[in-house]
Assembly symmetry: C2
Homo-oligomer: 250 residues x 2
DNA sequence: ACCTGGATGTCGATG
DNA sequence: CATCGACGTCCAGGT
């Protein structure tokens, strides 16, 4: 997994290292003093400072400072990636089109550079996504309301899709908007938009709107009530039945 | 800047290394085979695989795979961070409250671990933010429309704030919503919401709504026209005057 | 290529 | 602490 690593390489050695590994399906890690220029949707300039640079096989690049999960500068997946010597410093160019953007990393000094082989992605399971919530509620719509019958999922109406389209016990149409976390008033407006769209497409019918989420902000709840929309509390993570909780599994 | 680095340390050596540096205002970088569990707003499990682990002085942690800017697993800023030996493997625990979340990283094998001192953040300048756009347009509202007078910025109305509140040449009130990038129909609805709020608060007056952005999606433009709202194209990055473009600067 | 919406979004500001 | 909105959001998926 560890392919090669250099401590305090001279610019020429660093350039050779980068040239050797940049396009070799390899992940690069570089710690050093670095200056970053970015131009694209916006423009940024980061003065020289100690940073941590990461370059992945897909050409994505990120420059990390001492704080936070977010990089100081980044480039999501480049169409072109190259390293040159400019004025005695190694400079990395990372470009992409659409949107047209450039990130330029000037390496003033390199403390350590490492080439790694990160193997193909191992199995990754995520639970609690909105898609899973939608599937679970489509199978058990009574968790939203007794007597609910799901007609459709991801029903396209105008532009954008209705999470769940259903009919209630009285035969009225119901538009359900799901949120995996606390719903804000943006969710209320999204729901209102879908309800309006359905009312427009099917004139003369009663259409209910239900916002289903584990929680809702106070202003959002007020907005929902004002707009004649309903909020129903549902759990994001499906409850494990009591009999299935075998202590032996832990 | 480079404090210490180990290649292929045994679990005990790795544990000692982590214990020595974890709470020392130091940035840690670890490459190795790793298994990650996450539980919090959602739940995830990543089987053992070659990954790159980053731990920053603020307690933030991220585990990177071979693709993309986004980590496979992460934790934004922990309240508690610790390393233990469990079953012959070093295990990192990263917890935070609010939201209550845990990330657990089991290090099956470590190829390289490095402790770095990332100095305090250097100067960072970002241009082209919405805030800067707002400031520029507040000073030069004619870029939106001739005869416009800005009354207020970030005017609070109900929920959320109006980017620019103005009066046009005919004395009508104008609500301006800014977007630094291409505006979608969410921007249209946000503007519509603000316009409605103003009309409610000041009944009987004519209120115009202008969406000012460098671009707009086709559906958003249609939605704006249908809602009686206007779109005005403005540049996100302030245009540099011709006389200021000195080739010598490049 | 454009557009939409989700996300463990993250992050900072503000009441 | 809750809420809200920007972000170079990133990213996958659909048309």
């Amino acid at each position: 997994m560890l392919i090669e690593s250099l401590n305090h390489p001279a610019p020429e050695a660093l350039l050779a290292f980068l040239r050797a590994h940049l396009h070799a399906r390899v992940t690069l890690h570089l710690a050093g003093e670095v200056e970053v220029l970015y131009a694209g949707r916006a423009t940024s300039m980061a003065e020289a400072g100690d940073r941590l640079l990461l370059v992945k096989p897909d050409g994505s690049l990120q420059v990390h400072g001492p704080r936070g999960v977010k990089p100081v500068n980044w480039q999501p997946r480049t169409d072109h990636l190259s390293a040159e010597l400019e004025g005695g410093c190694v400079v990395l160019h990372a470009e992409r089109r659409s949107p047209a953007e450039v990130v330029q990393v000037r390496v003033i000094g390199c403390a350590q550079v490492t080439a790694l082989n990160l193997a193909d992605e191992a199995l990754f399971l995520l639970q609690g996504t909105e898609a899973q919530m939608q599937q679970a509620l489509a199978r058990a719509p009574h968790l939203i309301e007794a007597g609910l019958t799901v007609l459709d999922r991801e029903l396209l109406v105008g532009v954008g899709g209705i999470d769940l389209y259903a009919r209630d016990a009285q035969g009225r149409f119901v538009v359900v908007e799901l949120k995996r976390g606390k719903a804000g008033h943006d969710a209320v407006h999204q729901l209102g938009r879908y309800v309006d769209a359905v009312r427009t497409q099917v004139p003369g019918t009663v259409v209910r709107g239900i916002l289903a989420a584990p929680d809702i902000t106070v202003p959002a709840l007020k907005a929902a009530q004002a707009a004649g929309l309903e909020f129903v509390k549902v759990e994001a993570l499906p409850q494990v039945p009591e009999e299935a909780r075998q202590p032996s599994l832990f």
